[in-house]
Amino acid sequence: EDQVTQSPEALRLQEGESSSLNCSYTVSGLRGLFWYRQDPGKGPEFLFTLYSAGEEKEKERLKATLTKKESFLHITAPKPEDSATYLCAVDATGGTSYGKLTFGQGTILTVHP
C-alpha cells in the first residue's frame, strides 16, 4: 500500500527564518510527486510536480527537491503570507492513463511577523 508521511505536523517560523518540510513516501513505482498549498477553508493549490530523483523546482521563496525516498520543500526567508498547510501527494498508478493521488496529512506552517 502506498504511504506518504509528512513532518513536522506543524511548524512555526519567524519571518525570514528559513526551514524545510519533509515528505517521505513508500510506493511501488513513483509516477510523480506533487506539492500543494492549502489555505483554511479552500481547496489545494498546485505548487510543484517532480518526476525523478535529483529533480528540483523553484517558485519564489519555495524550492522542492526529490530523492528516491523523500521530498523536501525548502522555504527561504518566509513571509507571513506563506502561512498555510502544505500537502504532499504521490501518484503511483502505473499502467493507467490518469493519476490517482495519495496525500500526506500535511504540514501546517505559521510564519510570524
Binding site: R31, K42, G43, P44, F46, T49, Y98, G99, K100, L101
Partner: protein
C-alpha cells in the same frame, strides 16, 4: 479564467436527508475526482471518472454516488448523510497522460464544499 467551480461553498443538511454537491470545469479535462477531507486530515479519494468510466474506491461507502452527465459537470450525491459525513468535499480535474510522455496529470482543485450535517 479556466477553473474548477464547486457549488455551493457551504451546505447544511439534516441527518438522513439526501444532498447533492456540484462541480463544473472549464479546463476540458477528461478526468474528474471527488475527495473527502475531514478536519486536519489528508484528502481521501472517493471515486473518479475517466471520461464516462466510473471508478469507485474500494472503501467508499455505498451511501456516496456520483454522476457525470457531460465533460464539464460532475455531481456527488450523498443518499442518507450521517454525522460522520460532515467534511469538506473537494472536486479535482486532470488531463489524461500523453502516451510515452512524462506524466503531466496535475490535478486542479476547486474551492470545496463544506458540508454540515445536523
Amino acid at each position: 479564467d479556466a477553473m474548477v467551480i464547486q457549488n455551493p461553498r457551504y451546505q447544511v443538511t439534516q441527518f438522513g436527508k439526501p444532498v447533492t454537491l456540484s462541480c463544473s470545469q472549464t479546463l476540458n479535462h477528461n478526468v474528474m475526482y471527488w475527495y473527502q477531507q475531514k478536519s486536519s486530515q489528508a484528502p481521501k479519494l472517493l471515486f473518479h471518472y475517466y471520461d464516462k468510466d466510473f471508478n469507485n474506491e474500494a472503501d467508499t461507502p455505498d451511501n456516496f454516488q456520483s454522476r457525470r452527465p457531460n465533460t464539464s459537470f460532475c455531481f456527488l450525491d450523498i443518499r442518507s448523510p450521517g454525522l460522520g459525513d460532515a467534511a469538506m468535499y473537494l472536486c479535482a480535474t486532470s488531463r489524461e497522460r500523453v502516451a510515452g510522455g512524462q506524466a503531466k496529470n496535475i490535478q486542479y482543485f476547486g474551492a470545496g464544499t463544506r458540508l454540515s450535517v445536523l
